[in-house]
């Protein structure tokens, strides 16, 4: 039995925005896999809820004319993994969200919820960082769009303003075309797990597969919010593919990450893993792109 106040159920995005303005204290609930747990724990006991679960307009994946991939915020992990557009263009996102929890969680959990939660361990978040994803928010003043790295403000806090609702996640053509990626979730078991740390790498190789035209390296649980390894990316962008490159990248990312000590894992272990994961994920991403190291 859950200690819930009033539940509001909008039928449209417009109505949801209005309800958000009318009931600023109310918490948005989508799949419920985070909110219900917080209610049960007592952190949100007695909370009023705005259930957007019925907003089917926010479900599904499509491609706009300019090649932008648009993922409705209510799309479940299971649907993302199975979606043909995702599989064709940004398969690694489908693979990453297929590592969330277990089958039941993946059937109810939504990508919008996963990102609005603001946690650094979210499997979708680091991968979306590596895809230069754009977050779309709909509010009383209309639509706002921003890069995902600006959306994350601090641990557990995202730039979701009063009256606003996350409505989609967008990946422009230039962000996905020609890129292949690989995600490593590091957990203490192989299912039903939250990432101890995670690393998502996308690479774009030259036509002859000899040069690294671009790379994007993103980490979860290597800081209070997901982050990109910017200095490493800048250092290695444009370099020729060599056998020593993965190891060098692995070492370089240590300057880009700031994991902390906790009882879940020590800072030293996390640093070591960040380095190892970056090396391995890079190696796999290159291999998927047809490159040889």
């Amino acid at each position: 039995m859950y200690d819930i106040g009033t539940v509001y159920e909008p039928k449209t995005v417009e109505e949801a925005v209005r309800m958000r303005c009318e009931h600023p204290q109310a918490v948005i609930i989508a799949g419920g896999s985070d909110v219900l747990i917080k209610i049960r724990e007592g952190k949100l006991a007695g909370a009023d809820l705005i259930s957007i679960f019925g907003l089917d307009e926010l479900r599904g994946v499509h491609m706009e004319e300019d090649g932008t991939l648009v993922i409705g915020s209510l799309t479940s992990f299971a649907h993302i993994t199975a979606d043909p557009l995702i599989r064709e263009h940004i398969g690694v996102l489908g693979e990453a969200v297929d590592m969330v929890g277990g089958p039941q969680i993946r059937a109810i959990g939504t990508i919008g919820g996963n990102t609005c939660n603001g946690v650094t361990s979210a499997d979708s978040a680091s991968t979306l960082f590596a895809w230069d994803a754009i977050i779309e928010l709909t509010g009383p003043e209309g639509i706002r769009r921003m890069p995902i790295r600006d959306f994350y403000l601090s641990a557990g806090k995202v730039d979701l303003r009063e009256g606003e609702l996350q409505t989609s996640i967008r990946i422009p053509r230039k962000a996905w075309e020609g890129y292949k990626g690989f995600y490593i979730k590091y957990g203490m078991r192989r299912a039903m797990e939250i990432a101890t740390t995670g690393c998502s790498v996308n690479v774009k190789l030259s036509e002859d597969k000899k040069t690294l035209e671009d790379l994007r390296i993103a980490f979860g649980v290597a800081g209070p919010v997901p982050r990109r390894a910017e200095s490493t990316e800048n250092t290695f962008r444009g370099q020729a593919l060599t056998a020593s490159l993965p190891g060098e990248i692995g070492k370089a990312v240590l300057a880009d990450v700031q994991p902390r000590d906790s009882w879940r894992a020590s800072k030293d272990l996390r640093l070591h893993l960040c380095s190892t994961m970056a090396e391995r994920a890079f190696r796999e991403a290159v291999s998927r792109s047809g490159g040889e190291l």
Binding site: M1, Y2, D3, G46, M188, R189, A191, W263, A265, T276
Partner: protein, 760 residues
Amino acid sequence: MVVGKSIIRPDSLDKAAGRTKYTDDLCDRNALVAKICHSTVTHALVKSIDTSEAEKIPGVVKILTCFDAPERTFPTAGHPWSTEPEHQDISDRHVLEKHVRYYGDDVAAVIAETEVAAVQAVRALKVEYEELPFVLDPQEAMKEGAPLLHEEFPGNVLKHTEIHKGNVEEAIKEPGLICVDGWYETPTVQHCHIENATCFAWEEGGRVHVTSSTQIPHITRRCIAQALGVPWGQVRLVKPYIGGGFGNKQDALYEPLCAWLTTQVGGRLVRLECQREETFANCRVRHAIRYHITSWLRPDGTLVARKADCWSNQGAYASHGHSICAKGMGSIPQLYPCENIDVRGWTVFTNIQVGGAMRGYGMPQAVFAMESHTEDIVQRLGLDPLAYRRAHLMQKGYFDPFSKNELYADSFNQTLDVGSEYIDFERKYKEYQHQTGDIRRGVGVAVLWYNTAVWPISLETSACRMVMNQDGSIQLQVGETEIGQGADTAFAQMAAETLGIPFEMVHVVSCQDTDVTPYGTGAYASRQTYAAGMAIRGCAEEFKRHILEVAYRYTRMQPYLMDIQDAKIIRTTDGRVLMGLGELATTVLYDLDHNEHLTMEKSTQIKTNAYSFGCCFAEVEVDIPMCQVKVLDIINVHDAGRIVNPALARAQVQGGMSMGIGYALAEKMLYDPKTGRLLNGNLLDYKLSTFMDHPNLEVRFVENSEPTSAYGTKALGEPPVVPVAPAIRNAILNATGVACHEIPMRPHLLYQEFTRKGLI
């Protein structure tokens, strides 16, 4: 023959279809809900509890605090009662505690009309504490000046025992001995049964009735009566189907509190269901036991002398106490016999939650230490791990004067043969030494030692009742409980075989009700088929004799000329069918001259015990940079005597192996050193292994029928978990050269070990 067949368990379809009724399914929906207020400090005296805000919450019926609770104490351990006071379990619990001894101790309870109201009221209670210093480690707790948990136990030592043989100090003077010394650390872990601890209670007819998910109905009834201070017959306990226990429910958990609560609200029905977090933080755990073993050997591996010390972390209250530590200690002089040996053990109170029974009862800890130490010896002396074990393990014919146990068969060699052949140990062990590279493989072996039942440490008894229906089928009742392991199916197979009726004609009364079920102590040790088997066979043979005497009236044949086969009365001299068993049961029940209801009840005391041995072989792949271990293949081989139901036995072994894999690699309850609070008391942060973490779990049996057992059986419930962790530990050693002295071998530990060894 019914015994020995993989008969499908009769309860399986109902369970798969969701029809089976467990404790919560049976509770009336109008029951009042009880919720416990757990302390938010680790060691303290409760100064006051302000209930005023909580009482205002609509739906709250009654709030009871530690200041309302009776001063009377009670024991909780699932042991048979002893009429000798010095052998009785320590009685140190109150239904609610004024002296908080661990983080989460029970200081108050709220009874409300709904769960939400009860939870809100618990949150609204204001508890004032006078905090005391606390201690989490047993060796720290024994030091002078350490915080004292129980005044009656100076130095926090619940009990200290020693085993001595020969003269270690003299023996080690022999020149040329090699000394191998090691510390072996095991973690506090939790059972993680699917069904949380749950019960409900009400008063009716001036008695307290409790329905509970327990392994030990008759014992729990006694503990409740002791807690309430009433004659034992004033309490009735009903045990329906339960969703696993693994020893956690071999303890009175919250039944005494729930029973007391109903008496405080006029006997109204009160339900007390643990949440998963409470099952983690407030029920029982496996004791973390630290072993220090020193061995003195000749270069050929001959064991000249050995010392073993161990410290068992009991936590806040006595529960099963020293018996768990003592069971492990008892194996040490026997597993690798030695002429000169000193074993010393201390069970020590600390401010963590209470250690109780858990599958293996002290043996996973002892065998992790012993089999890791054995591997350390093998490494140090440059010997072959398999050959060393074969030469130095307890041999066929070994006799223990205390338990009167005898190793009747060559169990160790036979099981080692099967396991080593399956995993191709000899070849791989050599091939995997001296590998290089990031990914390395290894194989490891460990054996296990186990005692089937509890005699002569305590009473060993079982009682059985058989009631015949008009169709010749029977109801079978024993006090030994079905807790998911398939005991009922095995019992029915045994009864069918001895009585001479088909399996389908034995209806096991699965539910134990202390008002009607014959006395039995429940599901613990690995005694079900051994102890209940003796009661079942004794009862069935006497019942059969009696039935044949009754058959004489209608067949005119002497009883000794008849037998029951396939539910028919047979004349043994020529095999002629004289009458059907159903025909006999109906005729005698409705006989106007000689009516009789065919029943039999028999109580059996058991004064034997049995060794149950086996081994585990594991093959692992170690990803050194990722500090991860993957179990590629694993096999358990058991000599558990005759196997009653191979399919169920295999499933039981696989369950134990799964528990062993978690013990080896992942599971550990973490306590905050600053606050004493359990940090990972939920199924997300406590890394119980999943299907994805397991390879195929291979199971083989070597069936040497146990001569002392009614059906040739001996322990199989607990033993499977015992050898797994050291086998995996030894496989990691073979792969990497790193000898871990602690479990679980999580990435956290492997990172430190690999760094120290220069592998990363």
